[in-house]
């Protein structure tokens, strides 16, 4: 039972991270389209933000891994 709940929790965390990273990516693409000169800066900041969003999801996944 806890295993199933943990799996659902991990899934929810992934949905959250997916939405978050999707937003980061779409905004970054838009920004690059508006300002192609700043593509390099935007790209590294995009990866940084994606990594931060991902970090939150990973904590949830690791926790559910230990619970389940």
């Amino acid at each position: 039972m806890t295993g199933t709940l943990a799996a659902i929790g991990a899934g929810l965390a992934v949905i959250g991270a997916g939405i978050g990273i999707g937003n980061v990516g779409s905004s970054a693409m838009e920004a690059i389209a508006r300002q192609p000169d700043a593509a390099g800066d935007i790209r590294s900041n995009m990866i940084l933000m994606a990594a931060l969003v991902e970090g939150a999801a990973l904590i949830a996944i690791i926790l559910s891994f230990f619970v389940g």
Binding site: S44, I47, L48, L52, E54, A56, L58, I62, F66
Partner: protein, 423 residues
């Protein structure tokens, strides 16, 4: 077209080699019907014959991502690694792991000074009545201990002996806590780390030499490759985040980046010198994160500590909330560094193994040739796709670790000129 076919075919062979490493003799485990219980022994313990189990992709993947005391090549062929073991009541033991006479699934036929090899890991019999020196053991079993933990057992002369896992300093969270012995062996992970250190040393020495001998000329050969990456990290990571004092931290950032990148890439190789899941090991990423934590906090200036303990420019009641959050942030930042690298690399290894396992799942563990071929046609493109993604991930994760470390250090050494700027 021919080239593509050859590529696909060799890739298929390579991928199968990986599963064969963990999978051992499962493929001819046909006698599942009359092998449910295994051999019974007195004292209520029985052999767990893994070669008669059904093929379990999850377990195979789990074994693959674990550290091991020998390199599995194929079937019963192992590349031995040195074992250095210390038990307080026995002293040191040094030997090569082929002394265990390994066979399928990383189980050893022999016990040496009370040490046995099970699932590729050295374990120790705690019981003092177990004979020292080299003795032949029959097989391995498992029983349920307290807290739903599995306790492995070795069966020697119809008697069961509980096995201790190696000591870990995590209080039993991931391993066994402090047990009856310590393992200082050169394991698969240690070997891979040493290999990557040697490769990086040779690589960078030759590049550094080239800058002296070819001073003033355009870079050539491997120099061009390293210079591109080096300049990229310097211009995209170090300078924007660290500002004018970047040179002091550049060696640290570069070491972290190339070390992680090297380990990630070596882990991608599915056979002997590779296949070690080093950056997917919590202990390794923890040490890397610990270094990031120490460098950040030891180089933190007055502003940095003031912003953590007494954030200037906010009302006093907000400070009472902010201070605990900031103090927690001190630990959470390296914690996420550690988990991110660990989870990404481990997930990549697991997914690849699961995809390759499709061949064995469809093929009923070697029973049905048609199923295997169908599984192969599904598994190869998926694995190929995943491997290329993982190649990207190897770079991205090394880069992310580096860029986040740089941003933490940058926040710690930043000089605040005006009060309005808060982070």
């Amino acid at each position: 077209m021919n080239k593509i076919l050859i590529c696909l075919f060799s890739f298929l062979l390579m991928s199968i080699a990986v599963v064969a490493q963990d999978h051992g003799d499962d493929s001819h485990g046909a006698e599942t019907e009359h092998a449910e219980e295994g051999e019974h022994h007195e004292g209520g313990c029985h052999c767990h014959d893994a070669s008669k189990d059904e093929f379990d992709p999850g377990e195979t993947a789990f074994h693959h991502i674990m550290d091991a005391n020998a390199f599995h090549v194929y079937g019963d062929i192992y590349i031995p690694l040195p074992c250095m073991l210390y038990a307080p009541e026995h002293g040191w033991s040094f030997f090569l792991s082929n002394k265990f006479e390994l066979h399928s699934h990383g189980d050893g036929h022999k016990a040496i000074d009370g040490y046995v090899m099970h699932h590729g890991e050295v374990m120790r019999v705690k019981d003092a009545s177990f004979p020292k020196g080299e003795v032949a053991v029959e097989c391995f079993g498992v029983r349920d201990g307290e807290d739903d933990k599995e306790i492995f057992q070795v069966i020697y002369k119809d008697e069961c002996y509980d096995l201790d896992k190696k000591s870990t300093w995590d209080g039993g969270m991931l391993g066994g806590g402090i047990t009856s012995y310590y393992d200082f062996s050169v394991t698969k992970n240690v070997f891979t780390m040493l290999l990557s250190l040697v490769l990086l040393f040779l690589l960078f020495r030759s590049v550094a030499k080239a800058y002296v001998t070819r001073a003033g000329k355009a870079p050539k050969g491997i120099q061009s490759l390293i210079e591109t990456i080096f300049v990229f990290i310097r211009d995209e990571v170090a300078i924007p985040f660290l500002g004018p004092k970047y040179e002091k931290y550049l060696p640290f950032l570069m070491s972290i980046f190339f070390f992680i990148l090297g380990l990630n890439l070596i882990g991608q190789i599915p056979f002997f010198p590779g296949s070690g899941n080093v950056t997917g090991n919590l202990a390794v990423t923890m040490v890397l994160a610990l270094f990031a934590f120490l460098v950040t906090n030891l180089s933190g200036n007055r502003n940095y500590w003031a912003h953590i303990f007494w954030m200037p420019g906010v009302p006093a009641w907000v400070k009472t909330i902010l201070t605990p959050v900031e103090v927690m942030g001190l630990v959470i930042k390296p914690l996420t560094l550690m988990l991110r690298l660990f989870a990404n690399i481990t997930a990549g290894h697991i997914v690849i193994i699961i995809f390759v396992s499709l061949i064995f799942v469809f093929g009923d563990a070697g029973e049905s040739i048609g199923g295997s071929i169908l599984g192969g046609f599904i598994a190869v493109p998926l694995t190929l796709f995943m491997m290329s993604i993982e190649l990207l991930v190897a770079f991205i994760q090394a880069f992310v670790f580096c860029i986040l470390t740089a941003s933490y250090i940058g926040a710690a050494i930043e000089e605040h000129h005006h009060e309005a700027e808060h982070h």
